[in-house]
C-alpha cells in the first residue's frame, strides 16, 4: 500500500511541477497612463477613485496587482482567463473609447452589480480583503454612479 501511495504522490508532484512551465502573459502595463481612463473621464472624489481602483481594477483594467499564489499553477491559468473575460465586458482603462450608449449601459450595470453585491466577486475578496466593500462604501459608490447617469 505504502508503495502505491508513494507512486501516486510522485505522479501528482510531477504534474504539479510540469504545469508550472505554462506561464501565460501577465496583465501588467508598467505604469502606463491612459487618457481614456474612467477616472479621467469623470470628476470624482479621491476616495471614490481609490475604491474603484482597489476593488475593480485588478480584473477590469490592463494592470493587475498580483499576489504570490497567482503565479502558481493552476491558479495562474484560472486568474488569467478570468481577467480576460472581465476586460472584455468592461475595461476601465478604455472607458473613453466606448460609445455613449455603452457607457450609459455600463454605468447602470456597475451600479447594479455593486448594489446587489455581485461585484467584486466573493471568490476574489476572500483573499483580497482590502477589495471588499462595506455597506457604507457601497452606498457612496452607488450614489455617485446614480449622479453620473
Amino acid at each position: 500500500m505504502k508503495k502505491v501511495l508513494k507512486i501516486i504522490l510522485a505522479i501528482v508532484l510531477f504534474i504539479f511541477i510540469a504545469i508550472q512551465f505554462y506561464q501565460p502573459a501577465l496583465n501588467v502595463d508598467k505604469g502606463q497612463v491612459y487618457t481614456t481612463d474612467f477616472t479621467q473621464f469623470y470628476k470624482m472624489p479621491v476616495q471614490i477613485k481609490a475604491m474603484f481602483q482597489t476593488s475593480c481594477y485588478d480584473c477590469h483594467s490592463n494592470n493587475t496587482k498580483y499576489v504570490w499564489y497567482d503565479y502558481v499553477q493552476p491558479a495562474r491559468a484560472l486568474v488569467e482567463n478570468h481577467i480576460k473575460n472581465a476586460k472584455e465586458d468592461l475595461n476601465f482603462n478604455e472607458w473613453g473609447t466606448y460609445s455613449n450608449r455603452k457607457q450609459e449601459r455600463l454605468l447602470n450595470s456597475i451600479k447594479e452589480q455593486i448594489e446587489t453585491k455581485q461585484m467584486p466577486l466573493s471568490s476574489y475578496t476572500l483573499m483580497h480583503t482590502d477589495a471588499k466593500l462595506n455597506d457604507e462604501q457601497i452606498k457612496t459608490l452607488t450614489d455617485w454612479l446614480k449622479e453620473q447617469e
Binding site: 465586458d89 450608449r101 450609459e104 447602470n108
Partner: protein
C-alpha cells in the same frame, strides 16, 4: 418546363437583389420579441435561449446590406445589442440580471426601428417604475400592456408611448 424553371430562377434572383438593397431589421425584431415575451412570462430559460438566438442573428447580419450612411450608427447600436443579448443568454437563473439587460437592449432595438423603420406594427411601451423609478421602455407587437420587467408581479403596469 425549362422556361418555367428559368423564370422561377430569375424571380428568385430579383428577390435576392431587393433584399440586399432594402436592409430589414425584421429578424432582429422577431428574436427580440421572443425574448421580451419570455420575460413577460417570467421564464428565464426561454429568455436565455432567445438571447442566444438574437446574438446569432445579430452576428450574422450582412454588413454590406446596410446603407453606407447608416453604417456607423448601426454598428454602434448593434455592438451594444449584441453584448446585451449575450449576457441575457448567459444568465439563465438570474432573471433580474436578464431584465437589466433587457432595459438597455430595448433602447437599442427602439433606436434600430427609428433608424430603419418597420413593416410590422409595433408599439413602444413605457414602464415608469423600473430601475429605481428611472423608467424603461420596451417594444411590443400588441397594443395590450404586458410588462416584461416585472412579469406576473405587475403584468399590466405601463403605457403605450409611441406607435411605429
Amino acid at each position: 418546363m425549362a422556361s418555367i424553371d428559368t423564370t422561377a430562377k430569375k424571380i428568385e434572383q430579383q428577390e435576392v437583389k431587393e433584399v440586399a438593397q432594402n436592409f430589414s431589421i425584421a429578424p432582429i425584431v422577431k428574436d427580440y420579441l421572443a425574448l421580451k415575451n419570455a420575460l413577460v412570462s417570467d421564464n428565464d430559460k426561454a429568455a436565455a435561449n432567445a438571447g442566444k438566438q438574437l446574438y446569432t442573428t445579430l452576428k450574422n447580419v450582412d454588413m454590406k446590406a446596410i446603407p453606407a450612411n447608416k453604417h456607423k450608427q448601426y454598428m454602434e447600436i448593434a455592438e451594444d445589442a449584441q453584448e446585451n443579448a449575450e449576457h441575457i443568454g448567459d444568465n439563465a437563473g438570474k432573471i433580474a440580471h436578464q431584465r437589466e439587460h433587457l432595459a438597455s437592449l430595448s433602447k437599442d432595438v427602439s433606436d434600430l426601428i427609428a433608424l430603419f423603420g418597420t413593416t410590422q406594427k409595433l408599439y413602444q411601451d413605457y414602464c415608469p417604475m423600473y430601475n429605481d423609478g428611472k423608467g424603461a421602455v420596451w417594444i411590443s407587437e400588441a397594443k395590450a400592456i404586458k410588462n416584461p420587467y416585472y412579469g406576473s408581479q405587475m403584468l399590466t403596469c405601463g403605457s403605450v408611448k409611441k406607435e411605429f
